[in-house]
Symmetry: D2
Subunit: 379 residues, 4 copies
């Protein structure tokens, strides 16, 4: 039985695991069942297992030969706060929680890889199998690093794999350079001085000041950032005022920014600070910008992307590797690991069909499902 | 005993009534105790009484001689949703409800006038004593008119009296023309199309559109309205968005407008409609303006203001009548009655001192109290 | 012959003088012919004459009795840079220069008064007859004061008289308090850094910064100034850029402000400075506000306005004195004299009819003419 | 002597020609001397020459073998309205005109290619040598097409070559897809109604309306266009107003837009129209957008770019071909030809050094010079 045939033989088993995880989704840092399942499986194959990194994170390590090169393979385990609308048997058993981004599939794919590597040892060096919690906004990858991931498990590079609806089954998409954007959050408070709506001059009305800030923020994107560099500043929440005839004390705005380069990201933060401060100063108000760093840009290094593309080509053929796949303004926690060690985040086609099991439904949609066909090479 | 001495003799009694009302404040359209008290007193003096006009409104009618001229004297009875901070004995017995605008005093002053008129009959014609509910935003005066106030009780003119902290006891302030502003409410909805914060182009972001509208509304006041005409457009509430990374479907704004003339008021409404429609059209959003007419401007007619000034001068001397008192952008429900019949809304000094009983504390303040010294000519 | 009949007898002569001045209009500080004419006439009546104050200004002084009270009567002499369109015989003989504001009439009216006073001496004290140059933006009144007008000719009060089309012949209009607005000029420069239109991020684009400033200036009027106080900030000129594909280095804006009170005027200047500085700081541009004080508000003092009204009533009857005439956002140089000494600036009806000689055509219009009927009481 | 050696032997001659053209720069559509020089040289090598296409345009045609494939090689001939600051002998002899973009070099390089092709005939098919006028904003390429370029000289693809300072001598840079941006011009007129600066309500002030439009245009880029798609809207000129106290009738704005895709370009034009119309409608003004199409995006087709890269690699080696060179928001007239026929616009390194003859000085700079070292393979 060839190596590949061997992998194929896992398919039914992997599918069962994946559906089990799908039926039991767990939110960020609460992936206890998933984490235990992962650890147990890894141990069952004789793999060294380290648990409780970043609360529910798991790292398994497989070594072979005398090579001193080490890579990390990373998967995410957490689910989303969404009510699943699918009707199939393996639908979520937990109200309001759903594997709507395919992390159930990512986890099982990495388990499949782990089993293969543990059994066949057809490599020279060290592979760290990194199962991270809390990708969906929780920063589980960042926390693993902060808790010593790469000190405990030194890696020369890290590889991630994420499914993508809209790309056919059997294809991979790769890209060197920026693949996903940074995603930061900001909170702006414009503190004026309330007054009766009939006596505006007795206060400092924060409402038009907030409006000016919103308008001025557009100019950061259009005037201050190189138009060849994609960037976004979205004010998504604005709230102020309690009564129709009372000018409020303050207006609060919340939003998100996106960029593909650390330089643009820093420029956005710096310019936002100037805009908030300057415009509030213009009006005797006090402006506060709280800029909260979320995920950095996910930037694939050239060599590791080539390596990943070659590995993918071995499985699906070079014709099925899509090079120069366009980046997306979405963000992923894997960025912290790639930032730290280099590596590549690769996309795998989840399918294009609209039907159940065809994989074309968008992620974060209540009708999404990971496509089991891609758990292994087509069995 | 002279006529005036006679009025003076009421003072202790009126003070007791006023403090009793102060201790038992009642909110708009719930002035049941107050209303009953008023009706009972009026009846006790042989005055014809009509109750339940605009729920708790009361009208008493006194006639004398053969004259066919009729005037309305109007007082307001309702309290405010405010927690009183005064410590004196007659403080509010109802948590969160307070006579913080002196309507208790207005009611008792009108009772005092009723008693005098009923007893002395020193006039020729008809006096309707109008005790209205719900001045504080409830439109009690408007509702009385809608329920037939002036059909049942035809008036040639209506006179109102309101206390004003900051003017000394013993002084009246009058003004012909605009005395108080109109007060309208508006609700603007900017309906765009929500999108993920990372994909703004997939939606229509209502946030910057709302900001543009706020800025453009300023221009109505600065560019479209005669600068000699006072006007206000205050956006006092703005709300939109539920998550930091989701561009919302819509932003809602609420606010108030003020004007001293019907023409300016109409111009504001018309221009606001154009601004909301035009700017939303510019951005493929759907804008809705709900413009809710509140109180019209309170405009004192010249003849009745002269008459009121002469009447005031009889009591306090011409030197104590302040002519050409500046108008205020505040509003009063009495406007509906003056609009319908002509008349004058006169201010009476509540005192200037900061201490308890000195009357200088501003209305709508939890430490305010009506000054009993002004219930009659200084006793 | 009564005093009044005597004045009437001047009428034909005054009319001839007025038409002569109208035919020979002279621009600010170039009123040489007018000034000589005035001085000669004054001297011919034995009046002490002082010339060359503020270049072409003339002051004549008449004294009588032992009274030590002194008043100034002020008229303006300059014409406007306008091409007259009237066809009557006394039309302007100077191309592009026209007495389109009636200063010809003002000058002659004051000459008429001078002749009467010099001849009849029916007063006790001192009257200074002040003929000022350069009212139309030139600040002739200010310059006279700077050159010692009131040191040389001490006045207890100053009175001005200005014709007003739209008010019937035979009527005066008076107002205590603010009568005309301040008129200041401002120049704002937003200095950014030019760049190619295809590389905006390499510069600091002053265009949207200027736009933000324009929007923010509206908020000074709508949010910072008491709505009972009239005010105007008009950006009337904006210029920037030389080529369609080059972002300019700077944008310049020019405009005017108006206010009726020194406090509002100061608030406007201060707030404009903050707005320009704050918004430019928000965008790394350099903003400069040059705020040039023009004319202050013309504020009539109460006592002198009463006195003027009584004087007017003596001539036309109390019924023809319009009290509380609305103020205007226009400005007049007489403000400097009233500011310095108190006094009153009074309006005289120039007539309402549209025809030639009927006086209803607006000032600064090429078809305007001063109405000779008002040079004296109707003869 | 090998083919390449043969080319090298041209070098001195080509250098002489290039410097002669540099010394005699000619503006758009006035390239008479240049055009004659080109035609004469082509004819001297036995090449069929067609002149006066787009006024001064020249096309030479070389055929060989029986192949029916035809390609166009395109160079631009015009100079810029710039005063040269270089001091070398071949500096411009024409005041205020300068070859500051290297079109002198492009013309000579294409002559060199023509000579080689005519002499060696080492190809099978047809080569059209296209020398176009007026690349710098004049649309010479567009005019050649309109005058029948591709009907007269059918091409299967067109290739352009442009020098780029900052890339070392001996290197080529290529890119599939968008290489340069579209460049359009727009003119916006906001027609309001003038008024005196003291009476803004009597007019429709176009100044704040223009400001609103400027702000709203930013939102097209930030909210309506996919952030992965580069785009620019630059308002570069704004003019309105003649006097500090007169609100003007209108404000005019001029600017440029840039995009890499026809869809984004269309979106910009459509959205600009909506913004101008909607905001003017909001304020009773009349807005006019004149959107003038300039150059479309320069989009390199994949096959022809590969072909060009291989050709370049033959000369300089694959290591000296820079793939995936970043695009630029600048624009080039070559876009019309690539749009019509497909093809590729390739960049050739002009050198990096700051000194004279080192080629590092930016184009459109008065110290720029084309680097003669790149006229042939290093001789």
């Amino acid at each position: 039985m060839s190596e590949i045939d061997n992998i194929k033989s896992f398919h039914d088993e992997l599918t069962a695991w994946r559906r089990d995880l799908h039926a039991h989704p767990e939110m960020a840092y609460k992936e206890d069942r998933t984490s235990s399942f992962v650890a147990e499986k890894l141990r069952s194959w004789g793999i060294d297992v380290h648990t409780n990194l970043a609360k529910t994170g798991v790292v398994g390590t497989v070594r072979n030969g005398s090579g001193n090169r080490a890579v990390g393979l990373r998967a995410d385990m957490d689910a989303l706060p969404l009510q699943e609308l699918n009707g199939f048997d393996h639908r979520s058993k937990h109200d309001g929680v759903m594997h709507a981004c395919g992390h159930d599939g990512h986890t099982v794919m990495l388990l499949g890889a782990a089993r293969h590597l543990a059994k066949h040892r057809d490599f020279d060096g060290t592979v760290h199998l990194i199962f991270q919690p809390a990708e969906e906004g929780g920063g589980g990858g960042k926390l693993m690093i902060e808790e010593g991931l790469f000190e405990k498990f030194p890696c020369d590079a890290v590889f991630g794999l994420h499914n993508l609806p809209g790309i056919p089954v059997g294809k991979f998409a790769v890209r060197s350079g920026p693949m996903l954007a940074s995603s930061d959050k900001f909170e702006i408070t414009v503190a004026g001085t309330g007054a009766h709506g009939a006596f505006p001059h007795q206060g400092v009305d924060p409402v038009p000041i907030a409006a000016e800030i919103i308008m001025a923020l557009q100019g950061i994107v259009t005037r201050n950032i190189d138009p060849l560099q994609s960037s976004i500043i979205s004010v998504t929440q604005i709230n102020g005022g309690m009564a129709y005839n009372i000018i409020p004390n303050e207006v609060k705005m919340v939003g998100t920014t996106r960029a593909f380069s650390p330089a643009v990201r820093e420029l956005i933060e710096r310019r936002m600070g100037q805009v908030v401060e300057g415009i509030c100063a213009a009006h005797n108000a006090k402006g506060t910008l709280k800029y909260i760093h979320g995920y950095p840009p996910t930037i694939n290094s050239v060599e590791e992307t080539d390596l990943a593309a070659q590995a993918a080509a071995k499985v699906v053929g070079m014709d099925n590797v899509l090079f120069d796949h366009p980046p997306s303004m979405a963000a992923d926690d894997v960025a912290f690991m790639l930032n730290a060690k280099g590596g590549s985040h690769v996309l795998i086609g989840n399918g294009v069909g609209p039907g159940v099991g065809e994989g074309g439904c968008a992620v974060h949609n209540p009708n999404y499902d990971f496509n089991d066909k891609i758990l292994t090479r087509k069995p």
